[in-house]
Amino acid sequence: MDKITNTRCVVTGLGMISAIGNNVDECFANALAGKTGIDKVASVDTTDCYANLGAEVHCDTLDEIDEAKDVDRVSKLCLKASKEALDDAGLVIDESNAGRVGVVMGSCVGGVVSVENYVTKGEHAEDINKMTIASIANHVANMAGAKGVVTNVGNACAASTISIAYACELIRAGVADAFIVGGADAFASVPFSGFLALHALSEQACSPFNHSNGITLGEGSGAIIVESYEHAKKRNAKIYCDVLSAGISSDAHHITAPRPDGLGQMYAIREAIEKSGIEPKDVAYVNAHGTGTAKNDEAEFLSLHTIFDETNPDLSVSSTKAMVGHCLGAAGAIEAVFAIKALTENKIPPTIGYSEEDIEALGEKAGTFDFMPNTMKEKDLHYVMSNSFAFGGSNASIIFSKEPGNVKETENDEKVYITGLGIVSPLGNGVANYIDKVNAQTKPEAASVHANVGKEDYDKYGLKMAFYRKLDKFSLMQVISGLEALQEAGIEVTEENAEELGMIVGTGDGPLTTVYEFQEHISENGTTAGSAFNFPNTVYNAAGGYLSIKTGMRGYNVTVTNGAQSGMSSLCYAYNEIKQNRGKAMLATGTDENSEVMEKLYAKLGKVAGDVKQAYAGGDGFVLADGSTSIALENETYAASHNAKKYAEVCGYAMTHEGVAYGDVAGTEKGLMNAIVDAAAMAGITLDQIDAVYGFANGADEVDTLERHVYEEIFAGKVPVHQVRDYTGEGRAASSALSVAHAALTLSGDLATRQNAYYVTTEEVTKEVVDTSAYKYVLATSCAIGGSYAAVILKKVA
């Protein structure tokens, strides 16, 4: 039965930095005044480029943070906005509430400035941990002292709208009271060169809904403090507005272009309106995605007219990108802050850049809507919407309101089962192969091992050359494991169920290999030499986008990224979506790549072992590996409707953070302890009911020692610990998801009942062969550098 979960989520703090200001007030005043932040680009070499404009941030206090040298520009922007939002909210985070405060940040290209620095300035090791998106939320969590759910969303230009939505979902699920959410992206040569190669940059300042001849890139960050109304009220916080609901969908159409029929966008917009408990006529202002490309603007015109024409002729729409440029992963958060300020001050910022003739021409396209050319206006606003659409076919819409609204969020009491698995690993591909290799106790063959995908896989899943040649290895592994999990679960995607089937992709390093190679190529050959073919694969959600294109899954589709634990936090995320009725089946995945580039970077950090090694072997390095694990989760009703096999029941999860310098793990034991205790509590079991642990030891002392301390503390050396990395090596997110898959295959009896296990204390490690047949509740744990943890409890299906 469904229970209403319409906990009010309110906004209590705002922060922003963009090309038109270093704080919210400055940015909003300049936006209302129609002041442009677009100028000739200074931070990227634009020699011979047909376009040379950008909206760069000018701020000389970005380095006024601890250890600025260890932080990429993207995180500096995010820290600046987050600090402003925290101060604005007056939210004090201390030991009493830290575990109930989280951070979710969105980004498209993450620390790509550090990739450029590494490539062009002598390959310094200190740049490596700054390269990915993962570090952003870690820096913010550490600055703020937050110890709840800490992660990042990597859905390109829709990332930070999704980050706000996810935070509200978690508050409504009761796992947190408050979040610092938002997103950031820094101006960098990779996106500039990539959009240049796609001929998507405008020669003049971008002109959304007007000339629509391309985007102008920007940079910046937006940050929002979202908390439950009760929490805000209790501490007498100033409340800006409510966050009602959001709609998130996938186009399943093309990796860069939106669906011309606007289907995915319209689903997201309608879902946001419906779940918010309002009607299209109630939305008074839309802060549009409005990039200024012909394809975006055409599709968005179509979506807006289709949904609002009939009942909402007075709708106001503007694109603040005309002033701040397209800030990619930060766009959603920056535009959310603009939308919230518009709502609370009843002042709508304009879209600038219209001549008299342009305004006349706009008339036809705009119909009765006011697209706000050049001049702001005052309007009584009650409900406003912000749209974000992205590469990978990702769509997100969110609604902010002055009224509590009539939010129609619900939670079901159905059980959630693992019904299908897909495995790509250095042991080979396929679940059956994995079972055989584990039963034969196969070990990695070298200190750096690789999964392989090829013709056999393409033929098996009917992948045509025109499709698979577009994908890099990161995406290929994800598509193959995802297709296997769907096939195994017996889930058939149809026109009727496509929007109820979603996926959460988890990755630690994302497409860093493709990003690095793209950077290397343009650093050698110039900004004009970027590859239009490779650029779409530099976004973290490309893998999920391709899987959605191949399968036709049009539902919730998010890529989360915070280190190796992302392959397990994706499962926590997907579980929550099913519980909150945003999908009846979801894929939860973990994917990470090993390549020459990754091997070079991990070796430079001293993380790659000299030889094959097993858990608890001691020393610094691990066996570097890769792969992709996909896990199909379904609610009880849907699983029963097609007689799905139930490998195990997912009955509890937790995600925690105990921050240390990004790159380290030592000293974060408490994070793992909390994750285990919280997951057991959610499952409604006591810790002594846990029959076995599926851990994350990889042979590197720093990780293994921490795990031993915690397991000794909780299990006193009496519970067997299984380690999948003994078979596959350290595949980061792929291995975290594989821990869950391995546990499920054990509970289902698909793996041999006699398996290797460790009994660990701080003093001693013993390895034994144990009988797994009586396991009822098992725990899977995972960890990320920086101190983030995820834990999941699985139960045997009777």
Binding site: A197, M465, R469, A529, A532, F533
Partner: protein, 82 residues
């Protein structure tokens, strides 16, 4: 195709294979590159234009579709405009 054309065609084939990850065995000089043939799309055409510009200094932006039909037609366009 004459010897010079064959050399250029072979070079274009190599670029298509390397930069667009089309398996060499799928490519000959006649196979249609777009539509039902190899199945290239508009993003691929941008890559082809960039490659040909960089290798031969021949600008193909805005050039009629038929010149992109196959490797042979690309080659002929390059030779005529070098």
């Amino acid at each position: 195709m004459n010897e010079k054309e064959l050399e250029i065609a072979e070079n274009i084939k190599g670029m298509l294979s390397k930069n667009l990850r089309i398996p060499e065995e799928e490519l000959d000089y006649e196979v249609p590159l777009f539509g039902d043939g190899i199945g290239l799309d508009s993003v691929d055409s941008l890559e082809i234009i960039a490659c040909i510009d960089s290798a031969y200094g021949v600008a193909m932006t805005g050039v009629a579709k038929e010149h992109f039909y196959n490797i042979e037609s690309l080659t002929k366009y390059v030779v005529a405009n070098m």
